[in-house]
Subunit: 140 residues, 2 copies
DNA sequence: TTCATTTTTGTAACCACTGCAAATATATAA
DNA sequence: TTATATATTTGCAGTGGTTACAAAAATGAA
């Protein structure tokens, strides 16, 4: 996924009915253009200098705002942290037990084709989480 | 899955090299024969009367022991709680956003057939989580 | 019985996350 | 511009699930 420009990101927020304040735009840009599935704390640490003042609460609130609006996904692949993914398309996640890194995986079809008996269920979210040792760690 | 008897459960623990104390066997029996994917707190509440004295710490430690031994799965489908599943076979989980209940779903094949590029990854665990509204809640 | 090891227990602490109210910034109206 | 209402941000305190730790109890070996 190519990097999104500020005007593009701003437009996305406005289309979702969210006013693009300085903090909101910075947080949105960081999550959308990051591929490391950051925690709220990581977003906070990455932006606090750039923004001068930033509250961790703002980061949490803003990310929740985006999740509720469907702009960002919240991941629970990590036992101890919420993680956030700006890529809302259908894909799976792999977490390395050794280095803790999280990688995207492409999927074939979607969850409908993997499951039996989902006809009566109104599914709003599907997450496929894998754990193990990544290729980099297994070489060492 | 039929209910497992005490002798069967006891044998499973011994085969895993785990000494079946009174607390361990009771916790193991409860998780293995439950289909509600209980939290540690739920296991504790269900067994404290039967066992006379029981510590919540013992429940947490014992469940972790079983998870590390591969006898029980830990689920992270719920945002706020660890949940435990005595059924370690490949299956997916559906969580109802309204009533909070968690249901098992059968899957076709396994994760290898759903994904691209898992050849270089040593996968030790795969979890497919779905969220939405269950059939019971959508009728009301 | 005696001693070492294992298991259980209760309390205190941890820490990611949230609630809340004050402070600040922004939009609207006059 | 000024005044007022609304929206957003901020910092701190609190919450609650989970874990660390050390003492107590149970178990096994000699």
């Amino acid at each position: 996924m190519r990097m999104l420009t500020r005007p593009e990101l701003k437009m996305q927020l406005q289309n979702a009915g969210i006013r693009p304040s300085v903090q909101r735009l910075a947080i949105y840009e960081y999550v959308k253009n990051s591929c490391e599935h950051p925690t709220a704390e990581a977003v906070y640490e990455a932006l606090r200098d750039e923004l001068g003042s930033l509250s961790l609460t703002t980061v949490y609130n803003t990310l929740k705002l985006y999740v509720d609006a469907g702009l960002v996904m919240m991941l629970h692949i990590d036992d101890n942290f919420q993680r956030f993914d700006g890529d809302t398309s259908v894909h799976a996640h792999f977490r390395c037990s050794l280095c803790g890194s999280i990688h995207d995986l492409s999927v074939k079809g979607d969850y409908h084709t993997w499951l039996c008996g989902v006809e009566n269920l109104a599914v709003t979210d599907a997450q496929l989480y894998l754990k193990g040792v990544c290729s980099k760690c297994s070489q060492q």
